[in-house]
Symmetry: C2
DNA sequence: GCATGATTAAAACATTTGTTTGAAACAGTC
DNA sequence: GACTGTTTCAAACAAATGTTTTAATCATGC
């Protein structure tokens, strides 16, 4: 009836869920195993028994979170290999926005990842290898198609950073946005945002692509 | 010879400097008054004597940091009221990038502010009122001039978010960028980045402005 | 020189926190 | 039902941390 289905008695699983919430809310240092245990209806010793120590639990939570969130919103959600680069970019942006903004489901995945990106622990390498690397790679291919296949690397990198930056901003600065503009991010707002970022970026890339091919010709 | 000039013996001042470094590096929770005191060559009791408690010291550090960094890189650095909107936007972006990326000077200001933005304490309101509010306001004016004075508010907001997002990305994701692309942000790289973001945004805004005025005509 | 107030110093205090311990409860097997 | 390995529990431990205390030191005005 509330999150955990069918009275799942597996303490280990409950600990991971609870730890996700608490780590996301308070950070690794701020989270206490006592609070985690209490939220999971488990004994204080449960964390050490099942995971060895707090840090190992954190890794487990992060790993768990990653696969789950990428499964729900894959970068090519709703497009096929036959789609145009524009459609693929739009899909990428849309997925990314939903991944980091959707508050209608266990919300700690995005916050946890943002935390790890902003202030990495030793787990960042794993995060890059499994998630961020492929993600940036995918976007690179799409952007290269949009500009031209011989576009110089620096321009391509700058463009994918511009796109990623626009999307992630709404998560990183959400408290400021909410205080300054009283904006909330429901699904329909996210849709409009994704359209905006897509148009903004396509327009920009077209311009820069023209500049680039011109300078390449010189 | 090293940061503090003329053997400034004021313990209070040394504490603020040291606390800035430590808070930026470890976060509020992770920073210990013992480490701060040690870095400041002060006694453990000094923090409580001079500031009451750890939290009050944090507020003081934040306040101090804000005024200092905005003084060094004001948003209209190098432009006059007669400059074109394009020039003003470029100056804004350049300043913002230097503000968050310049590692050649006491570097904790930006990290401290990023921390507060990503996970606010009670001090965020003050930060918004004194710094972020005016900053966003200034950018809004510039962007409005670029699109058209009757541009609809949502479009303008989305555009300033797109610009802020592109800039802040390089700070928030610096560890990922560094691991994926082995990029370091020296002054000349920052200059090139600011030019890229300026072009990217101007191109995009032009396009969207045309769309906007067309739809406004309908 | 000394009295006064501000500052510093070292030690101690009270909590909090991650972890360990040892016994109890449980589950499955023969 | 006794044995075995696993899981849970309450209590305790050791280290760390913010804060307080009490005395010493310093600076300044008389």
């Amino acid at each position: 009836m509330e999150g955990t289905d069918k009275k799942c008695n597996d303490t280990r699983e409950r600990l991971i869920q609870a730890a996700g919430e608490v780590f996301a809310q308070r950070g690794f240092k701020g989270a206490t195993v006592r609070e985690i245990s209490r939220c999971a209806n488990a004994n204080i010793a449960a964390v050490n028994y099942h995971f060895g120590d707090k840090e190992e639990l954190y890794y487990e939570v992060l790993k768990n979170s990653l696969s789950s969130v990428m499964k729900k919103y894959p970068p090519d959600l709703g497009v096929t290999p036959e789609s145009t680069p524009e459609e693929r970019l739009h899909a990428f942006i849309r997925s990314l926005l939903f991944r980091v903004l959707d508050e209608s489901r266990p919300t700690w995945h995005a916050r946890l990842m943002a935390r790890e990106i902003a202030e990495p622990t030793a787990a960042l390498d794993q995060l890059i290898e499994n998630i961020l690397g492929p993600l940036y790679g995918y976007l690179t291919v799409v952007v290269k198609q949009l500009i031209s296949d011989e576009a110089n690397d620096e321009l391509v990198h700058n463009c994918i950073f511009s796109i990623m930056g626009q999307c992630l901003f709404y998560h990183n600065s959400r408290h400021v946005i909410s205080k300054l503009y009283h904006k909330k991010f429901g699904p329909e707002v996210i849709e409009r945002l994704s359209t905006h970022i897509m148009r903004f970026s396509i327009g920009a890339i077209r311009d820069l692509g023209i500049l680039d091919t011109k300078s390449a010709k010189v």
